[in-house]
């Protein structure tokens, strides 16, 4: 094999490699959010209503997988609940009404962003409480440090120091 031919082959190899990589990169970058609607028949024909249904559904927990929304989950129940959301959106119910319908059946747990109640108070207040506690600790530490400023040397100590150095 001639050297020029060899170079050409290498070029081709890297060329195809780069093309492939760019292709995959584009595929990954352009991938839509991972919604589990696997069947286009699930979607509402009206794109605005479908977008609303997706927004509501992505705030509702799948009770089977528990850490996925019903829009993301592939579970059978999630599909049924997606259909319920779409049914109600189509019927003209408001977002709040659809969520309330779900909460009546599955409790606040069904909401991925739970409302502020006595039970969820700590959940929301913890960051602020942590800041307050940290701030207080820092303040106490500082004022203690300030209180521990050593007293100036006495005359005798100073004389001793001079003697030593």
């Amino acid at each position: 094999m001639k050297l020029s031919e060899f170079c050409l082959r290498i070029q081709k190899f890297f060329g195809s490699f780069f093309q492939k990589r760019t292709f995959f990169l584009l595929v990954f970058l352009s991938a839509p959010p991972a919604f589990a609607i696997s069947d286009p028949r699930e979607m509402l024909p009206n794109p605005q209503q479908e977008a609303r249904a997706e927004a509501i559904g992505s705030q509702l927990r799948c009770l089977v997988c528990q850490n996925e929304s019903i829009e993301e989950s592939d579970a059978d129940l999630a599909r049924d609940l997606r259909a319920k959301v779409r049914e109600q959106v189509k019927a003209g119910r408001s977002d709040a009404e659809v969520v309330a319908w779900m909460v009546a059946r599955y409790g606040s747990f069904v909401r991925l962003r739970p409302p502020l109640t006595a039970a969820t108070f700590l959940l929301y207040a913890t960051p602020v409480l942590a800041l307050l506690v940290g701030g207080f600790a820092a303040w106490v530490g500082r004022s203690r440090q300030a209180a521990h400023v050593p007293a100036p040397l006495t005359e005798a100590e100073r004389a001793r120091l001079a003697e030593l150095s």
């Binding site: 129940l77 909460v103 009546a104 059946r105």
Partner: protein, 191 residues
């Protein structure tokens, strides 16, 4: 360094151990309760407890008759009706079959709702594991299942004469639950 300072330093060194010990104790409590069946981390609690059952009218799984919410409530006039959601494809449903049979022997009315199941398969399941049901309705769409706030099978309910859900368990029935929960609840709501 003063004695008080040393004591303070020792306390600070012990603090992480104390935190670890508290965490360990908490996990130990959680795990023993899970083992004894007193704590289920997956249980989301059913907000329907204490509320009126949703309306439904379902066809039967032949030869068994289907039923409606009103028929169920009417049957609960003397004592609560035990309502069991099951499916032939559900493994825990097979495991609770013996306990359901035991409950039937104690004179409790058991009504079943087969969730997303084919009638032939439901009947095959009953042939294999026994049939404790007075009536069996088929919820083929899963609508009634959702209206009851269910997310899996089996789930069990006690419905009183007023149509209220007076007891609920998200999972298979056990003999222990019969003795400790079901029978006492029935006794309480008997008229």
């Amino acid at each position: 360094m003063s004695g008080a300072g040393i004591a303070r330093r020792r306390l600070l060194m012990l603090a992480p151990l104390g935190v670890a010990a508290a965490g360990g104790a908490a996990f130990w409590t959680m795990l023993t309760r899970m083992q004894e069946g007193r704590f289920d981390p997956h249980d989301i609690g059913n907000p329907m407890l204490g509320k009126h059952i949703p309306d439904f009218d379902l066809p039967g799984v032949a030869p068994a008759q289907g039923f409606s919410a009103n028929q169920l409530i009417a049957a609960a006039r003397q004592q609560p009706v035990f309502l069991n959601f099951f499916a032939s494809w559900c493994i825990p449903c097979a495991s609770e079959a013996e306990s359901l049979a035991e409950l039937g022997k104690r004179g409790v009315q058991i009504w079943g709702i087969a969730y997303k199941d084919q009638p032939a398969k439901t009947n095959g399941f009953l042939d294999q594991y026994g049939n404790p049901y007075a009536k069996i309705a088929a919820d083929t769409t899963g609508n009634t299942f959702i209206n009851f706030g269910l997310y899996g099978v089996p789930e069990n309910f006690l419905i009183d004469a007023g149509g209220r859900i007076v007891w609920h368990i998200a999972g298979p029935l056990s003999d222990q639950a019969i003795d400790q929960q079901v029978m006492p609840t029935i006794a309480k709501f008997k008229s």
